[in-house]
């Protein structure tokens, strides 16, 4: 099946500043693609070009087979966008905002009434539906913004930092709703700078930095791509013998073994979930008594740091 979105050399320059730099990417139908990167990485600019809000300086993108340059009207028929900053009509209530959006998107009166109620209730916004948007908190406004896409149920949904300013319970609720939207057939592009959000929600994650796409793969493969990124710390009852260290070192997945304390070894390795059972049986065969074992795999922050040399936080502070 051809990709539902194909991005070819997409570039956007604002004067001398290159916001998006020759981006190439394909999005499969029915997947959630996370675009991860610090503020200023080019995520929002990419989204705005896909949504035909801004024109590319170079390159193009095909959305549902339509060129964003040549057939912007057709592209927009397939899309629903929840923006990073809530775009509310400033004289309205949440109900007015989402109802108007649903009307413009062509939902019938019956369908509109039902979906508006369902979604606002699910997002805990039903009781606030007639309140002025001025009186809403940042998190509530964000819920209204995401409600637009959930009501619209477009073929392709683009959500930019969907849970920013939203509390933990609300975040989980929105993630569940986005997952349900995807299960019902919507392809989702999720732009975020929250590592956990990208990890739990995305089928694939593309890491962007300084307008470029550095890498794109499943979260697991990205983590596995860091050689020696997994860490296993084994604490022995007694000091492990050199023979034990040597046998651990012989596993092809193990990159490095270091002794952190007299009775503690730290192993840097790949594919921790596959190799740990083998390590345990070796230790048992060697007669080593293990008092505790702790495992950790790299986070997407480690992946980001691996490809950029910066943590996400450092990249954020540095702007770009």
């Amino acid at each position: 099946m051809p990709p539902i979105i194909r991005i070819e050399n997409l570039t956007k320059k604002f004067g001398n500043f290159t916001a998006v730099d020759h981006l190439n990417l394909e999005v499969e139908e029915g997947e959630i693609l996370g675009l991860l990167g610090p503020n200023g990485a080019g995520k929002t600019t990419t989204i705005l070009m896909l949504a035909t809000v801004i024109r590319p300086t170079e390159g193009t993108a095909y959305v549902g087979g339509y060129d964003v340059r040549k057939n912007p009207d057709k592209v927009r028929e397939l899309l629903g966008v929840a923006f990073q900053e809530p775009k509310l009509l400033w004289v309205s209530t949440p109900w007015d905002v989402v109802n108007w959006h649903a009307k413009v998107c062509g939902l019938s009166t019956q369908e509109r009434k039902q979906r508006v109620r369902e979604v606002l209730e699910a997002l805990d916004m039903w009781d606030y539906r007639h309140r002025s948007v001025h009186a809403l908190s940042g998190g509530m406004r964000k819920r209204v913004e995401i409600a637009k896409v959930l009501i619209q149920r477009p073929k392709i949904a683009i959500v930019d930092e969907p849970t920013a300013q939203i509390d933990v319970v609300g975040k989980h609720k929105i993630w569940r709703m986005l997952r349900e939207l995807c299960d019902s057939g919507t392809t989702i592009i999720l732009a975020t700078n929250e590592l956990y959000e990208a990890d739990v929600l995305s089928d694939r994650v593309g890491i962007m930095h300084r307008g470029r796409l550095l890498v794109c793969d499943t979260p697991q493969k990205l983590k596995d791509s860091i050689v020696g990124g997994d860490v296993v710390e084994i604490q022995f009852e007694v000091e492990p013998s050199p023979k034990i260290i040597e046998s651990l070192d012989q596993f092809k997945e193990v990159v490095k073994v270091i002794r952190t304390k007299a009775s503690t070894l730290r192993l840097y390795l790949n594919k921790v979930e596959e190799v740990v059972p083998k390590i345990m049986s070796t230790l048992m065969m060697e007669g080593a008594v293990v008092s505790s074992i702790r495992m950790s795999e790299p986070s997407l922050d480690d992946v980001f740091a691996h490809y950029t040399g910066l943590t996400l936080e450092e990249a954020q502070k540095g702007g770009r």
């Binding site: 705005l48 809000v53 028929e77 923006f83 959006h101």
Partner: protein
């Protein structure tokens, strides 16, 4: 705002209109002035949509509107018609006051005049949107609209008959001849039955003028809206 306009409008009729009609040696000037005043007020109200454009830019609503599954043509047409209708809602009570003062002779004529006033309001909204997206600065837009208001309204037949404008200066007369405010004022008077001082014998001419005015700013608005309001390009 609405109350302020009503008070201003009523005082213009009750004081300025009544007093000026005694000073001017033009037959039926009072009713003539009331008709023109309605069109002037409608123009001022319809221009307001341009200021909304700046508010939308400030609130980042442009990106949202441009991402909606509608064509740019539908978007501009919708904004212009919306702006025109809003102006009509604001000015509706004032038009009713003026109709009470003027009185309607022929309801059919009046319906046609009302339709042309709608087109006039949509056209003014389209013009306001077009200028707002081209200028991209609310201060400069404010100044330009002030200048335009002074020129378009004063160099029209809203307040004085065309023959007097021409007499004052032929250039003024030429401008008034091709002025949408003139066309709207003339049609409104014709529809309301103030026919003693009509500048155009055939009401089809001002009607054609208004249709052209509306069509021109719809077309230009669609082209410029798409070109000028590119998200991130509006600063």
């Amino acid at each position: 705002m609405v109350i302020m306009r009503i008070i201003w409008f009523a005082s213009q009729i009750a004081f300025f209109g009544l007093i000026a009609s005694r000073m001017v040696a033009v037959e039926d000037y009072f009713r003539y002035y009331v008709g023109g005043l309605s069109v002037m007020t409608l123009y001022s109200a319809a221009v307001f949509i341009g200021f909304d454009i700046y508010e939308e830019a400030e609130h980042g609503v442009f990106e949202y509107l441009l991402s909606l599954p509608v064509t740019r043509r539908q978007l501009v047409l919708g904004r212009s018609i919306g702006g025109g209708l809003r102006a009509f809602i604001y000015v509706g009570p004032l038009i009713c006051i003026s109709l009470y003062v003027i009185g309607i002779v022929n309801p059919l004529n009046f319906l046609l005049a009302l339709f042309s006033l709608f087109l006039f309001a949509f056209g003014v909204s389209g013009m306001s949107i077009t200028l707002a997206v081209v200028i991209k600065s609310s201060d400069r837009f404010d100044i330009l609209m002030g200048v335009l208001d002074a020129l378009i309204v004063r160099l029209s037949t809203a307040m004085y008959p065309l023959s007097f404008v021409k007499e004052a200066n032929p250039i003024y007369g030429w401008i008034a001849n091709f002025n949408p405010v003139t066309y709207a004022a003339e049609l409104f008077r014709w529809g309301a039955g103030v026919e003693s001082i009509l500048s155009f014998e055939n009401p089809l001419l001002p009607l054609l003028g208004i249709v052209l005015f509306f069509g021109f700013f719809m077309f230009v608005g669609i082209v410029l809206y798409d070109k000028s309001i590119e998200g991130g390009g509006w600063r």
